[in-house]
Symmetry: C2
Subunit: 371 residues, 2 copies
Amino acid sequence: MVKNILKAKAKRSMKTKSKLTGSSMRAKQITINDIAHLASVSKKTVSRVINEIPTVNVEIRDRVNEIIKKTGFRPNPQARGLAFRKSFLIAMIYDNPNATFIVGMQAGILEALRGSGFELLVHQCERRSPRFVPDVREFVERLQPHGVILLPPISENPVLIQMLHEVGCPHVSVAAARIESAMHRVVSSDRDACAEVALHLTELGHKRIAIIAGPQGHRSATERLRGFTDALQNRGLLMPPELIAQGLYTFESGIQAAEKLLSVYPPPTAIFATNDEMAAGVYQVAHRLGIEIPLQLSVIGYDDNPIASRLWPPLTTIRLPIPLMARLATTPLISSGNAHLQQDVALVTPNLVVRHSTAPPSSKRSRNIRA
Amino acid sequence: MVKNILKAKAKRSMKTKSKLTGSSMRAKQITINDIAHLASVSKKTVSRVINEIPTVNVEIRDRVNEIIKKTGFRPNPQARGLAFRKSFLIAMIYDNPNATFIVGMQAGILEALRGSGFELLVHQCERRSPRFVPDVREFVERLQPHGVILLPPISENPVLIQMLHEVGCPHVSVAAARIESAMHRVVSSDRDACAEVALHLTELGHKRIAIIAGPQGHRSATERLRGFTDALQNRGLLMPPELIAQGLYTFESGIQAAEKLLSVYPPPTAIFATNDEMAAGVYQVAHRLGIEIPLQLSVIGYDDNPIASRLWPPLTTIRLPIPLMARLATTPLISSGNAHLQQDVALVTPNLVVRHSTAPPSSKRSRNIRA
DNA sequence: ATGCCAAAAGACACCGGTGTCTTTTGGCAT
DNA sequence: ATGCCAAAAGACACCGGTGTCTTTTGGCAT
């Protein structure tokens, strides 16, 4: 009798197949009821086996497990989600041009999710669009993910975070600063990292140091600028305003900023570009002007984008511990119980990666630069 | 009476909230039954309104829609999926170090998915792992996505594709060649693009041209090598074996290949690196050896990775129409009806982007290189 | 043999939607 | 007034799981 059920199912499946394009048709799904019939137990007992509830007779457990394995049964995720009132979905929401960062975070989140039963949904948005927050809201309400991870810079947006609170969606902000309103945060101490940059340059003997800051409104931009200038000040170096250029974290803005900075007199002997894209812009301008890095100009970037090590000379930069950040961002969202409801902050330290774009300032450089 | 139901619900919601951490608790979900009560119609009628079934009285339709809007009701995706026997999930599966390509495809797929009701799941895998295919199988069986998009090089794996057929999962292969076994394919004519590269170099007057090929087993590698050598042959140029180097699409392998190629005598006047990472390796070696690009050596890459335009001089390369490829990959999976069951092939043409890394060969270069 | 009780298993309702079949509604010809 | 019929709406089962409460099982003390 049990066998007949399976046969009937197989037949139906065949019929469906032949009606359509054959091999490409999805086979009839095996359900918990089929397993229950085959094992001659109730579906509830199968459910217990699936969820590893201990109050199941070992013999029955083994029998059910064997049938599950033999039939290749997988619980339907929709049904499971519906019954559990839980979506088993984590979403990563971003609006960020830095592909390396996105893919790195994505890989790390997937790694942290492995075996947890959760899956990763991605959602790209446009923070400059007037429909930015409503669009994300629509996404969150429609998908009802179990939690969302916000990448910078949208992770800093108070309106977005407020909306997530309103719709009751757990979230974690990955940012360069403690975003107070966010439920959970992973914060990288960009400020400390930039102090390290200042230290490195002053120890090499640089006195006239320029910085290309990030776009206004980005917390990472203010943190990096602040960390750098404060550290210089602690060492008795004041940053003259003409050596502070405004950038947009883009290659082109790096070029413009570099052109501006290298035309002041006396020119800086070192430039700290607050991301690698802008540092690449500095390289470009230096090449055009015939300025040799690091002999005539030291350059430091931020991110350890692949570009950094491809440039010539390889760029000294700051590396974010992306896999760690990804793990820290994921954990509070999938931790069991109500632990995930407690606010938490995880701090993470970026590291200086010294390559070949920095050297002591050379006395001959002011001559050469005029050429 | 209708109002009482709502009030009761609100009360229950409040109670739940106060028991837990308050604001961070997810609010009680509004369901189709609530809407039905409020509108004094059956849930089936609400269902009809949601799904825009035309056989609904306009007055009722408007009334229901207004209540939906006012309450902010969203159909539960799990319930919807369960009832429709459809997951509304598309998965992008990849194992690829090229972050730009991944994020680009991802953005394009998300764009194509916008408004369709489908969402994007991402899954990274390791094609070298012995558990590669079983792992993907587990993923596909567990999530039961409506379709999957395979990025190269796993898009070429016949065992993987066979498995997807077995479990009945619709899929599209994005690759540099027509993968016969795949259900749908988006193929870029890398061969033609590389012929264009050959044309460009020969027209500049190069006769001694080297190539750094991609890793064995990658279809893109064989296609690019073939397209290039065939085109040279058509112009009467035979590629001597010592000018064909084996690379792995990595920066380091580009360095090694360049070292080898630049040590043969007479050295090549141009190197076609079959991706930008390897081209960056060529730049690195050229810098170390004091070889000037493009005066003494022309270099061409492939991908139009951001690196290409950041290098100095900016690298001439091939650009894949990634947004188009993403759209073409997405459409067959979400098209309605059984249209998506018909195999299809979409062809796409990459373009040569000429920048500043190529120039006519210079007679003085063989002198300089010996230095 | 009987009663008691904890462990194991099952019955049944439910999660929140859709499909299918039936019933209601109301305009029109007779 | 009555019958007919298409359009509109509803009843009910179902998708495939889990939660809760009840029933069954079987070992042990009496």
